[in-house]
Structure formats: structure tokens, C-alpha cells
């Protein structure tokens, strides 16, 4: 019994310790003076994590918007309220689905790639040799990736939302015959720019920070073997997804749940 309590204590201590390590890691890498070179590196990472994730995010957004319209229509039409379809599609996309699903896709597409890339750099001693040359890998490798994720995910989320609303319109208006004026009109009457679009983007900024942080930290701290890399990549996706969903609940409770 005492052994079990001790084991729990040891687990708690080591969890706290690695959380502290990750925090120091984040602080050390985020606050460096950006140089011209740094901006070039950052651009390259925005390309890598943002532009190259665009296709999967937009296609998913389109389908989710279309499914929302289809499902929403079958429910709303029972109440004769299919005019509220635009409102339903837009609010569920902007408040929940766009930030969350884009973040989950981002964790799978870009986060795992970041972990594997940094892990391979570690395994082939590139990080060590950079340190020996006298360049801090936190600044040179980690910081541009962190900032790129921080910028790219909110942009992807906007793209997701736009395409989703358009996909909902495609199904609802063009296919199911909801009146176009009431689709957009009800949407405009109920969506608040600050309250809905703004809060959705705020969520997405938080998710961007957390997902990229987990991804680069897992890559930086992994055991440099092929098994270690594969484990760390899996951990990135699992931890990042759990963190996104958990934080989403907290943020929703604070933003929309009347807890203030």
C-alpha cells in the first residue's frame, strides 16, 4: 500500500518536473530577438505547417459544412424552422467545429511532422552540432516553428470556417431549397463578430500555442532512436488532441457558458 502511494508520488513528481522543463523550454525559445534570417526561417515554417496543410483543412471544412447543413435540415424541418439553418451552421462552425477540427487536423498533419523532423535532427546529432558551433537550437530550430504554428493555425481556422459556411450554403440552399435570403439573413442576425468569430479565433490561438508547443517539445526531448521517434510522434498526436478537446471545454465554459 505504502509502495503504491510512493509510486503515485514519484509519478506526480516526474510529471510536474517534465511540465516545468517544457515551460522553461517554451520561455527560452519564444523570446529571442528576431533577425532577418529568423524571419526567413519563420516564413519557411509557415509554408511548411500552414500552406501545406491548407488542402486537408479546406476539404474537411467543406465536408463538415455540408454534413452540418444536411443534418441540421432534417432536424429543423420537423419544427418548420429550416430558415434557421444558416444560423445553426455558422454558429456551430465558428464557435466549435472550425477551431477544434482544424486544430486536430493540424496536430495530425503538421504537429507529427514537426516532432519527427526535430527528432531526426536530434538523432543525427544536428542539434548537438549546432550547439557546438555556438548557435542555440532553441532559437534557430524551435522558435521559428513555434511562431509559425501560432500564425498558421488561426489562418487555417478562418479558412475552415469560410469553406464550411459556403459548403452549408451549397447543400442547404442549392440542394435542399432553403431560401437563400433567410440562410444569410438569419446567419447575419445571430452571429456576433466579436462574440462568435473573435472568440473562435481566440480559441484557435490557444490551440495553436498548445499543439505546436507539444509537438516541438516532444521532438526536442525524445529518445533519439527510431523507436523513440515513433513513440514521440504518436505522443504528440495523442497529447495534442486531448489537450485541444480539454481546453475547448474550459474555453467554451468561460466564453459561452455563462461562467464569468
Amino acid at each position: 500500500m505504502i509502495e503504491r502511494i510512493r509510486r503515485l508520488g514519484r509519478w506526480g513528481c516526474s510529471a510536474l518536473e517534465s511540465l516545468g522543463d517544457a515551460g522553461i523550454f517554451l520561455a527560452q525559445s519564444m523570446f529571442g530577438i528576431p533577425s532577418v534570417e529568423g524571419i526567413r526561417l519563420w516564413l519557411r515554417q509557415v509554408h511548411f505547417v500552414g500552406v501545406l496543410s491548407l488542402a486537408i483543412v479546406l476539404v474537411s471544412g467543406l465536408f463538415i459544412g455540408m454534413v452540418l447543413a444536411l443534418q441540421g435540415y432534417t432536424i429543423l424541418v420537423d419544427f418548420g424552422a429550416e430558415d434557421a439553418l444558416g444560423q445553426m451552421v455558422a454558429l456551430s462552425l465558428l464557435r466549435e467545429l472550425a477551431p477544434v477540427v482544424a486544430a486536430l487536423l493540424f496536430a495530425g498533419r503538421a504537429g507529427s511532422a514537426l516532432t519527427a523532423e526535430i527528432g531526426l535532427m536530434k538523432a543525427t546529432e544536428q542539434l548537438t552540432s549546432m550547439e557546438m558551433i555556438g548557435v542555440d537550437p532553441l532559437r534557430r530550430i524551435v522558435a521559428p516553428r513555434l511562431w509559425a504554428g501560432f500564425v498558421a493555425l488561426p489562418l487555417l481556422t478562418i479558412g475552415f470556417g469560410v469553406v464550411g459556411v459556403w459548403g452549408g450554403q451549397l447543400v442547404g440552399v442549392q440542394w435542399l431549397g432553403v431560401f437563400e435570403g433567410s440562410y444569410w439573413g438569419n446567419m447575419q442576425a445571430s452571429v456576433d463578430f466579436i462574440g462568435d468569430v473573435g472568440n473562435g479565433l481566440l480559441k484557435s490561438l490557444v490551440f495553436a500555442l498548445v499543439v505546436t508547443w507539444i509537438a516541438v517539445y516532444q521532438g526536442y526531448a525524445l529518445v533519439p532512436t527510431s523507436e523513440g521517434i515513433s513513440r514521440a510522434t504518436t505522443r504528440t498526436v495523442v497529447y495534442a488532441s486531448l489537450a485541444v478537446l480539454g481546453l475547448d471545454f474550459l474555453l467554451t465554459a468561460v466564453m459561452f457558458g455563462g461562467l464569468s
Partner: protein, 270 residues
């Protein structure tokens, strides 16, 4: 001051987890010479280089480079000190996102404000020294192992360091590139007068270029001396290592129970 040793290691203790890797290492590396550190695999030779380079901190003891205690320096002055060191890694460790030219130019770009034309001259000079000026447009993935190591060597000497650390430079090389590397290391040392530390377990090649040799085993310095004196050393462990005898004080077998008993045990369980 120039006669004082460049690197001094005093009473170094280091443990990874529960296993003690070093139990009191003392070492003096003189200026302007090639010093070899040898020992069987798994004795922590690479770890020793990382301790010297300040990437790991020892549990006890000191490493002084040119009079400065490496592990007492702030992060900033440590990076400053590293500008004066070059290190050649076992795998080469070229940056996979840069081509050969940019890899060699990397230390110049981050540490100097030289104009582009000057950087170009310096890079071509270093690449010429390792015989790979023609390969400057290739990416690291297109290089053979030996070529990658030579590019890494060019990068390590790009800033004309005072100390260069070689981590297993001969491992996994074919005889030709091995010969090229041996020659390069010796020639660079003679031409530039830098201090070199070679970590290796390739006896023949290492002994042929080293001025002084340390042999470490079981976390301690087992023997040290010039290559000639080691060759005729009477200590059984040194002899086994230097002459490559398969069994001796360093046993061939990993510690295990009696072989016969082990076999019978397995048979009995069936």
C-alpha cells in the same frame, strides 16, 4: 602561457542514472598536439567529449579549457567559448536542410559579419582543403558517408578553431576514405597548429597520427603515454586492447551464469 595545457580534466565523475560512467578521470591535453582518447566501445568516450564541450555537466570534477572552467560559465560565454572549438561528429551531423556550401558557410554566417564574397572565398578554401570543392551544390543526402564526414570537417574548421574534437572519425569508413581522413587530420594539425582530440577505437589509424594517447576503461584512465610506449606496455589490459585480443581481462562474454547450468535449466523446465 602558451606552454600551459589547453584542456585540463580534473577528477571528473559522471553518472547516467544509476550507472557510473566516469569515476575520477584526470587528463591533460597539451597545446598544438594530437591527443587520442581510446577505449573499448561503451566506455563513454563520446560522453567525455560532450563533457569537454559543455553539453553535459559532470557530477564532480572540473574541465578547464584555456584556463576557463567550462561548467561555471554562463550560457552566453559558453557559446562564446564554443566559437573557438570545432567538433566533428560521428555521423557528420550536416544540416539536412542546407546544401554542402551552406553547411560550411553556416558558422561564418552566424558568427561573423563578413561580406558574401569573403564568405564564398573562405568556404571554397575549406572545401578545397578537404577535396570537395566540386561537390558544393550537393545536398547532404547525396553524399557518401566519407564525403559527409569530410564536409563536416570543413565546417568544423570554418572558423579556424583553436581546439578540434573528433568523435570516432574513422568508424564505418572504407579503407580509402579512412586513409584520406587520417591524412587530413594530421595535415590540418601541422598546417594550422591547432589542438586536436581524437576519440576512437581504431588502434592502427589512431596510433599513427597521435602524439599522446589516453586509454580509458571502467570509468578511469587505464594507461597513458606516447604511441610507442603503449605498444610495449606490459599491463595485460592495455595489451589486450592495443593488440586487439578477443579475450583477456576485458571478457568476451557479457556477465552470465554458468553456460552449462543455463542449458540444463532450460532443459529441465520442459
Amino acid at each position: 602561457m602558451t606552454d600551459s595545457p589547453f584542456v585540463e580534466v580534473e577528477g571528473l565523475h559522471y553518472a547516467r542514472g544509476e550507472t557510473a560512467i566516469f569515476r575520477g578521470i584526470d587528463m591533460v591535453i597539451p597545446r598544438g598536439q594530437v591527443t587520442a582518447i581510446m577505449g573499448p566501445s561503451g566506455t563513454g568516450k563520446t560522453t567525455l567529449l560532450k563533457l569537454v564541450g559543455g553539453q553535459l555537466a559532470p557530477d564532480a570534477g572540473r574541465v578547464r579549457i584555456d584556463g576557463e572552467d567550462v561548467h561555471r560559465l554562463s550560457r552566453k560565454s559558453l557559446f562564446g567559448l564554443r566559437r573557438r572549438m570545432g567538433m566533428l561528429f560521428q555521423s557528420g551531423a550536416l544540416f539536412s536542410d542546407l546544401n554542402v556550401y551552406e553547411n560550411v558557410a553556416f558558422p561564418l554566417r552566424v558568427h561573423t559579419d563578413l561580406p558574401e564574397s569573403m564568405i564564398r572565398d573562405l568556404v571554397l578554401l575549406k572545401l578545397q582543403a578537404v577535396g570537395l570543392r566540386g561537390a558544393r551544390e550537393l545536398s547532404p543526402a547525396e553524399l557518401s558517408g566519407g564525403m559527409a564526414r569530410r564536409v563536416a570537417l570543413a565546417r568544423a574548421i570554418a572558423l579556424d578553431p583553436e581546439l578540434i574534437l573528433y568523435d570516432e572519425p574513422f568508424v564505418g569508413q572504407d579503407p580509402i576514405s579512412m586513409g584520406v581522413l587520417v591524412q587530413l587530420i594530421r595535415r590540418l594539425n601541422d598546417a594550422l597548429g591547432l589542438t586536436a582530440v581524437v576519440v576512437s577505437h581504431d588502434i592502427k589509424e589512431t596510433l599513427s597520427i597521435a602524439d599522446y594517447v589516453y586509454v580509458i576503461a571502467d570509468g578511469q584512465v587505464m594507461a597513458h603515454g606516447t604511441p610507442e610506449s603503449l605498444d610495449v606496455d606490459q599491463d595485460a589490459r592495455v595489451r589486450q586492447f592495443v593488440h586487439g585480443e578477443p579475450d583477456g581481462p576485458v571478457p568476451f562474454h557479457y556477465p552470465a551464469t554458468d553456460f552449462h547450468a543455463d542449458l540444463m535449466d532450460a532443459g529441465g523446465r520442459q
